[in-house]
């Protein structure tokens, strides 16, 4: 990876966001969402800055960040493959798709591949049940999958 994320520029963007929300009730969650967009993740350094600016204890912020599955402390791979494990996808064979991806890209669920290219996630229902089983690669959605489709999709990235 080695991408530098804790840049001065990112911090000043964060400050702007904090200024926008400061004083509003329940401002922490919106700031964390925006912060994750800016930095790609919410490492301790970023949480510390939010803590100082909002005057909220670090422990509380850490508690919130680790509670919600969408917030992450570590940067993700370049592409995040999300395989929907909602019920509709599951009964239509999403598990097989996940197993195939694990073998193809050599990655475990919730982890990033050794080359830093792909992160694999088992996501909650994304609501595209009509296309089950479904997977997403960043913004792209692939539906009505069979195991054999996986290598072709991976090869595109």
């Amino acid at each position: 990876m080695g991408r530098e994320i804790l840049t001065q520029e990112n911090y000043s963007r964060l400050n702007e966001i904090i200024l926008q929300h400061k004083g509003k009730k329940g401002a922490l969650m919106p700031i964390l969402h925006e912060g994750q967009k800016i930095f790609g993740c919410l490492p301790l350094e970023v949480q510390k800055r939010i803590s100082e600016e909002l005057n909220v204890p670090m422990a509380e912020i850490y508690g919130v960040v680790t509670f919600y599955s969408q917030f992450t402390l570590e940067p993700k791979g370049e592409y995040t493959i999300g395989v929907c494990l909602g019920t509709a996808c599951y009964v239509k064979g999403a598990q097989k798709i996940i197993d195939k991806i694990k073998r193809e890209v050599n990655v475990e669920i919730g982890a990033t591949s050794p080359d830093g290219k792909f992160s694999l996630e088992a996501t909650r229902c994304i609501g595209a049940c009509g296309l089950a089983p479904v997977l997403t690669v960043n913004e792209d959605v692939y539906g009505r999958l069979v195991e054999g489709d996986v290598p072709g999709i991976i090869a595109k990235y």
């Binding site: 509670f67 919600y68 019920t87 509709a88 239509k92 229902c125 009509g130």
Partner: protein
């Protein structure tokens, strides 16, 4: 004044967007300008039409032609033939809408025939990003009427009289909730909307937000007037980017038109709305956890009482309803509580939206009057089970619900009937399963979900569901004992009665209901070490049928662990069971179907 002779409605719901409807819109735009039709034909991106299975969907008015599975390459033909020359492209229409080579309007298609659309009335009809289209279909008239003609007490009375019950799952009478919040003492009150639709396989609320966001906004303003609140929050899960986007546009437009903000309709009433995003925690669908999350805390439930109506957001009285519940309100105000109470059964009034998914032909979103039977939903609206397979069960209520078997298909759907069957209405997910689904595995799947989503605050849920999952894993791996089933049952009952919030209290339901109706499958796993549906991998074995084997050796080449022996052309091949990893590669590879799975 814009005048168009044809309107092309393109579904912009999540389902159709995922299957490429955005691209189709762009190509339409290009084609229309190529043929100089831009001033005659209007392109509209709408919310979900409901029949996601047939997506991407395009409907062209005034003919009401219903094109399904539209591909980019079809757009040119539709433009040239239909829009330019006026010939409907019959072979691209949804199959069912063509009978004896005559085109039927979409309302006559089986999928829509039994439906009655109240909450979804505008979905797939209006452009959700244009407030004037909502207003054209009677939008904000209910708010106008309430503010200028009615007292808060009158509004509450109307909602009570309608018999509307909470659509988020619990089924609590909505009017009573409004009354409690109205009566509660407080200098500040809030109105909140639960759009944290977390049940896997449920996407009703998302479709309403995507297709008709103003209905929710209008209803929340009405609720604000009724209970005495001037600030509202909509809590939406972050997994719904399209819904969030449209909702924000809708709120901005409502503000611009003065339908949110100060002195609405020239009255004393002021109301403002804000969106708050979830961050991937299922428990936040529970009302008290949701309130904590809006406040910017960990989304853990609070003990009740006090109920949110008394002490909600920031300890102030808060009215919290679900998206679909709100979507019914403007219609109830306009058409009257008697009209609404005239639909449905004695104790469950109105309609209910369901997300139909799993092993069913017409996957999608449907809205039916309460009291419709499961059979009608699955076999008439849903079009039955694909590939000629047998129906096994329908799962309702998501991870909090249970399975219902073929014996009970004629049960009219309402809150109380479903609970009597050991399931529940839930938010409206309906997943159909066929003979290839293993019910023990399904129970394990749901437990896996709740274990992952348990917030960890109370012990029965945190520890208990984990132990239940371990037992289920043991059983699906063929290591279960008869005592395990008993232990599973007693654990389930303990967790049900001692958990803090709805998540824990209902988490054992999938296990209890599968034990109730599919005990034989549990027994097969435990006693015979066999998975009747052929799902649980550890219990399967692959066998080569000697008589059918053509001795080609393809399977032996495919086997990743090299456990298939034989001599090419001379001796039938055999699998060494103790080394087999049950990957199924040999079965897929065999050109003669000589390998069976047991």
């Amino acid at each position: 004044m814009e005048l168009y002779r044809s309107h092309v409605l393109i579904c912009g719901g999540t389902g159709c967007t995922s299957s490429g409807s955005k691209n189709i819109e762009e190509v339409f735009r290009a084609e229309l300008s190529k043929y100089n039709l831009t001033n005659e034909v209007k392109l509209v991106r709408t919310g979900c039409f409901g029949l996601c299975e047939a997506g991407p969907i395009v409907i062209i008015y005034p003919e009401g032609a219903f094109y399904s599975h539209v591909k980019v390459k079809d757009v040119t033909r539709i433009t040239e033939e239909h829009l330019l020359k006026g010939r409907i492209v019959t072979d691209l229409l949804f199959k069912e809408s063509v009978v004896d080579s005559k085109v039927r309007s979409i309302n006559e298609v089986d999928f829509y025939k039994k439906q009655q659309r109240v909450a979804l009335r505008n979905c797939g009809v209006i452009n959700p990003e244009d407030i004037t289209e909502y207003i054209a279909f009677d939008g904000y008239r209910a708010l106008g009427k309430v503010l200028t003609e009615l007292q808060p007490e009158d509004v509450i009375e109307i909602v009570k009289k309608s018999g509307l019950r909470g659509r988020g799952g619990g089924g609590f009478p909505t009017g009573l909730k409004w009354e409690f919040t109205y009566r509660a003492q407080g200098d500040q009150k809030y109105v909140a909307c639960n759009a944290d639709e977390g049940d896997p396989g449920a996407f009703m609320d998302r479709s309403v937000l995507e297709g008709d966001p103003h209905a929710v906004i209008e209803a929340m303003a009405i609720a604000g007037y009724a209970v005495g609140a001037d600030q509202g929050y909509i809590y939406v899960r972050a997994e719904y980017p399209i819904a969030v986007h449209r909702l924000q546009i809708a709120i901005d437009q409502a503000k611009e038109y003065g339908l949110l903000g100060k002195n609405i309709f020239g009255t004393e009433f002021s109301f403002d709305l804000e969106i708050r995003l979830g961050a991937g925690a299922f428990v936040c669908g529970e009302e008290t956890a949701l309130l904590n999350s809006i406040e910017g805390k960990r989304g853990m439930p609070r003990p009740r009482p006090p109920f949110p109506a008394v002490k909600g957001l920031w300890q102030k009285p808060t009215l919290l309803n679900n998206v679909e519940t709100y979507a019914n309100i403007p219609q109830i105000i306009l058409k009257g509580p008697e009209w609404f109470a005239g639909i449905g059964t004695e104790k469950s009034k109105g309609t209910k939206v369901f997300a139909l998914g799993g092993k069913i032909n017409n996957t999608g979103l449907l809205e039916i009057p309460m009291g419709t039977t499961l059979r009608e939903v699955i076999f008439e609206v849903g079009g039955g089970i694909p590939d000629g397979k047998a129906f096994k069960a329908v799962q309702t209520g998501g991870p909090s619900g249970g399975c219902i078997t073929a014996d009970y298909l004629d049960t009219p759907i309402d809150y109380d009937n479903l609970i009597a069957l050991g399931s529940m209405m839930g938010s409206g997910g309906m997943i159909v399963m066929d003979e290839d689904n293993c019910m023990v595995d399904i129970a394990r799947f749901f437990l896996d979900f709740t274990v992952d989503e348990s917030c960890g605050k109370c012990t029965p849920c945190r520890e208990g569901t984990k132990r239940m999952l371990e037992i289920l894993e043991k059983i699906t791996e063929g290591k279960g004992t008869p005592a395990d089933i008993e232990k599973l049952e007693s654990l389930a009952n303990t967790i049900k009665s001692s958990s803090l919030c709805g998540l824990g209290q209902t988490a054992p339901n999938p296990v209890l209901s599968t034990l109730r109706y599919f005990r034989n499958e549990y027994d097969a796993h435990v006693h015979e070490k066999r998975c009747p549906a052929g799902v649980c991998q550890a219990l399967l074995s692959y066998l080569i049928i000697p008589e059918a084997c053509k001795k080609c050796g393809i399977c032996a080449n495919k086997c990743p662990v090299g456990c298939i022996d034989g001599v090419k052309g001379k001796e039938a091949y055999k699998i060494r069971q103790e080394q087999c990893i049950k990957c199924g590669a040999c079965m897929e590879a065999c050109p003669f179907k000589a390998i069976e799975r047991k």
